[in-house]
Amino acid sequence: MELGDTAEEAEFRHALRAWLAGALPALPPAPDPEDWPARRAYDMEWQRALYDAGYAGLHWPRDAGGQGAPPGRHLIFLEETERAGAPYVGAGFVGLLHAGPTIAAEGTAAQRARWLPPILRGEEVWCQGFSEPDAGSDLAALRTRAVPDGNGDYVVTGSKIWTSHAQVADWCELLVRTDPQAPRHRGITWLALPMDAPGVTVRPLRTLAGTEEFAEVFLDEVRVPAANRVGAEDDGWRVTLVTLSFERGTAFAGEVVACRRLLRELAATARSSGRWEDAVLRRRLGRLHAEFTALWRLVQWNVSEAGHTGRQRCTGAPGPGAPGMGVPGTGVPGAGASVFKLRYSHARQELYDAAAEVLGPDGALDAAADWTAGRLSSLAYTIAAGTSQIQRNIVAERVLGLPKGR
């Protein structure tokens, strides 16, 4: 066990820090959060800068255009960029963390050549078309239909929901049902949908935070070439699991670093406002400090494990065979990441609840305050990407080996 940087890691950290010190002041001012084209432009410009500096796709394999660095390098990247106040991945999220890795793992040479470089260079934005109004936690219940037309196209009809950046995306990683007769988890296919295809309608979805972070995507007889299919027809569920595992794995690592910063800000506010004298609140903040310290170590542990064995740590009493514990050798995180997601979702909500206490009614009831917006959006964490209830099922069945059923 070693938490310190190796010589290579130290060098990487040093070089990154130096580069950030030069690159960040050159950035344009951050765009208006409601101006989606401006946000896209800003995020893509930052991605291009990373690409030019050799920091794009750190954890992607070299043959996919990435740096092939061990996952620990990516954590250093997240730590250092957060510390320096660099932009987040933003509109590049789905491309860099979902669709790209999926194409890298499952796509043909032609598909990799077509889609991966524009993602790394910040030229094309991807969005995710998985969830549907009647297929949320139960993703395999999706009903969007794709029918081959006999001329090499699929004709796709249906609707998707909870799609981020749909307004400004070029591509959508789309799950469709190609065989409605097959069992639920079969008969699903993964397609790359060009968002400018005729029949695609994007309608922004207003969240309880009052913002339009997500959209609904309606598909009315949209033609998608069969060449846009990644993996075999009807094999999309397996392809999807690869992507979902990425989402449940390291996707929140950067946020943990950010939460540690937020906690420091909160403590500073409490100290200067006098709220620090409230022992109940102070000890609650102390506990959150323990929480985020542990969560960061959990990320490091999971990443170390995944980097070497392709499995998340799963101690306790793993069941016989313990399916879903990650795919050995692939770097794909498995069910152990559910432990992290469960804990982190809750800790994030706790942090924002504590913030409301620190700020008092004056701040907590002000919708214009960043803390209030953050508190509202934190409510999604125990729901999105698999509810906490689903995560507990995964932990119980796949990690602990408890019997399926009720």
Binding site: L208, P361, L365, Q389
Partner: protein
């Protein structure tokens, strides 16, 4: 002892629900404070419930008011209901009883922004402890700036410049009731609204869980969802018992217990309801978030958690 609703109380609750549902369609009124509805409440005698019949009231008491406020909370009726009720009863502010005058309140020192200041006709100012008299001012006398309120149905103003009551030096003392009494009754009526909201979120969650299907069956057939709903009901029923009791005993500790448990039932109920709703609960269109936001607001008004816990501790 007979701790059940009487037939008259059941009829009052039914009548109030019919009146409110008739005018709102059973949904939280998205338009904010509705003065016509306010006058209808006045006409129905709801602000004057506790006034003697000789003074134009109904001659009932806090238990009946609690039932009415619970119904208002169920529908998230926007407006400074507790302050207006206190103004109509204890303080005899003209127009408050018949609903022609809307009265909001500022409690000096609790730091809670004032609700519906722009729409109000009068501002009740509470300052000091037991023995101090409440004061009354015109809303425009308060130096305050609008806040972008977390509750979209409740506009808020933050006192600017001088803090609390000092910001309305011209307010005139109102004889009739001391601020400790007003604070207690205000807390109880607010607890009743929280109780109504909490009860409504159980209904919403249960109704959703019965029809929403995932994995081939209603999500309400899964223990995880069942137990969330059971916990919600447990909190509602526990809060209800002490809210109703506090209306009868008019006891200060019991009121603090009522506020504490009703706040918790409302806030946690709304959060659990969002969880049961899943993605749908995260949308603006579903009403659930309105329950959460109102519950956050009401939990700060008229005694917050810290105040309640400390006063309960002191009373052991």
């Amino acid at each position: 002892m007979d701790f059940r609703l009487t037939d008259d109380q059941l009829a009052l609750r039914r009548g109030t629900r019919e009146l409110l549902e008739g005018r709102t369609g059973g949904m939280p009124p998205r338009g904010g404070l509705d003065r016509a509805l306010w006058r209808a409440l006045g006409d129905a005698g709801l602000f004057a419930l506790a006034l003697p019949e000789a003074e134009g009231g109904v001659g009932l008491g806090l238990p009946e008011a609690v039932l009415v406020f619970e119904e208002a909370g169920r529908l998230l009726l926007p407006g400074p209901l507790a302050a207006s009720w206190l103004a109509a009863g204890r303080l005899g502010v003209p127009g408050a009883a018949d609903g022609t005058s809307v009265v909001t309140a500022l409690d000096a020192g609790d730091g809670v922004p004032v609700e519906h200041l722009a729409a109000a006709d009068r501002l009740l100012v509470l300052e000091g402890g037991a023995g101090a008299q409440a004061r009354l001012a015109r809303p425009e006398e308060l130096c305050a700036a609008p806040v972008r309120s977390v509750d979209p149905l409740t506009p808020l103003h933050r006192v600017s410049g001088r803090t609390g009551a000092a910001a309305v030096p011209g307010a005139a003392a109102v004889p009739g009731a001391d601020v400790a009494l007003l604070r207690r009754e205000g807390a109880l009526l607010t607890a009743a609204q929280q109780l109504g909201s909490a009860g409504r979120t159980v209904e919403l969650a249960v109704a959703h869980a019965r029809v929403r299907e995932q994995f081939g069956q209603p999500i309400g057939s899964f223990q995880a969802v069942k137990h969330l709903c059971a916990g919600m009901l447990e909190r509602v029923e526990t809060a209800r018992s002490v809210v109703y009791a506090a209306a009868l005993t008019e006891n200060e500790d019991e009121t603090a217990a009522a506020k504490l448990l009703a706040d918790e039932a409302a806030v946690r109920g709304a959060r659990d309801c969002i969880q049961v709703y899943g993605g749908l609960g995260f949308t603006w269109e579903a009403d659930v978030h309105l329950h959460l936001k109102r519950a956050w607001l009401r939990a700060e008004q008229w005694q917050n958690t810290v105040t309640c816990e400390e006063s309960l501790a002191a009373a052991i």
